[in-house]
């Protein structure tokens, strides 16, 4: 039933939304000429409504994919065969997520973001895994927090399909750092609930790694 409904969410439906979003962006840019420069000079605009949330997810997947691409290109010292294989898997999952959002959003997709990973020592296992852990936990909390902002049920299902994979990544990375920390009390509270964060909080954390300025002011709250 669920599979049928997500298959029914055709590319055309996405494109239809994308068209609407594009015309809204054109409208926004034309009105900004008469107004002040708030809308134009505030970085890459994620947009509003469900498209905004999808672009927000797209931005985070771009970040993760770029990070793991670097990890796979220059594996850290002493990496085991198993770690290399599974970190490459994660890279492929994040690229799959990124490209999925790019295709789904089509004309409404934000541009390619630029990243700054200068804080990461890619030769160091500890540095790479600490960053990976931060990104995966952040990703899980971002999808969990954005869920209630999504209006279209099929998009919520899609977000759900991705967030559990991010949670699997988070658990694996955490276990690599310290076996048994897959769901410790730094991310899971006394009710057994994972962490959720709203977009502004997530982007504030991610901003340290993203060169491109992102304007999230039109996202639903």
């Amino acid at each position: 039933m669920i599979q049928k409904s997500s298959e029914a969410l055709s590319r055309r439906a996405f494109l239809g939304m994308a068209g609407a979003a594009t015309s809204m962006m054109v409208l926004a840019s034309s009105c900004s000429k008469n107004d002040d420069d708030n809308m134009m000079n505030n970085g890459v605009d994620l947009g509003s409504g469900d498209v905004g949330i999808l672009n927000y997810a797209y931005a985070l997947e771009q970040l993760e994919a770029a990070f793991y691409t670097r990890v796979a290109q220059s594996p850290y010292n002493g990496i085991s065969a198993s770690e290399k294989a599974l970190l490459t898997d994660i890279r492929d999952h994040e690229i799959a997520h990124r490209e999925f959002f790019k295709s789904a959003l089509a004309g409404a997709a934000i541009s390619n973001l630029e990243f700054d990973f200068s804080a990461v020592d890619f030769s160091s296992r500890a540095s790479v895994l600490a960053t990976a852990k931060a990104f995966e936990d952040l990703g899980v909390s971002a999808y969990n927090g954005a869920g209630k902002l999504i209006v279209t049920p099929d998009y919520l299902t899609l977000a759900g399909k991705i967030v559990s994979v991010e949670a699997r990544h988070a658990a694996y990375i955490r276990d690599l750092i310290s076996n048994g920390s897959f769901a410790d009390n730094t991310v899971v509270d006394m009710n057994g609930l994972d962490t959720s964060r709203m977009p502004a909080d997530v982007l504030a954390v991610a901003a340290g790694f993203i060169k491109t300025k992102i304007n999230a002011s039109n996202l639903p709250r």
Binding site: I95, G145, L158, G180, A183, G192, D194
Partner: protein, 278 residues
Amino acid sequence: MEFQHIINEIKKVDPEMPERLSDRRTAMKSFAGIGAKIGLAALPFFIGSIFKKAYAQSGPSQNVVLDVLNYALTLEYLEAEFYAMGIAKGTALVPAGAPAAAIKTIGDHEAAHVEFLKTAITASGGTPVSKPTFDFTAGGTFANVFSDYATFLAVAQTFEDTGVRAYKGRAAEITGGGDLLTAALNIHSVEARHAAHIRTMRKANGFGDVKPWITGKESGIGSVVQASYDGEEMSTQAGINIVNINGAMISASAATEAFDEGLTKEQVLAIVGPFIVQ
């Protein structure tokens, strides 16, 4: 009071109004805080805007929310009792140290989920379903579930992966469900963390050639649990083929791993049915 009078008036034209309002727990919560923050004279205006909010948003009905929460509670009862019984066997079943600690962490979470969901259901105006009687051998299929570590972990993996799919399969029904949706999502990702760890434990012990994520529809267990994995082999999402998408080298395996799939209520009940005596 004026407020009650307003509600009674609306009830005359919309008998379902109180139900709609009670779905809007956050709206009502903000209403409760309003009196303290602003003068009473301004109240009617705020009441009006809350009503508008409650009607304008297209959220799930109270019945749907309660049905989903009670469904989740049934699955959490299953998991919580399973781990509690496993832990009670001590080191005869789960080796001391990291394995026992991990099973305790997971068991504690499942027990917490049971309590949380009971509270959430009651607070939403419903009645929590009572705990079924379970048979974790599933009528003898897993006869040694509490004496053989490999079988115990195989059943644990199946429960966790099924749990992830169960929450995912019904999330869309509570779209717009506010904080209750967030809570369900926060449980969903914890189940995924559990699943990843149990899968890692099975791999480390040589019990199954599995990764923390699900490849194709492989269980790494056997045909007896296949229903929990069927459908995971999807490599197309929303009409978009993920294999080699946009020129990226994405294998068919990676394409299926990158997205977990939901299960319907009927599929999940068929899977857990053999474990439920009554």
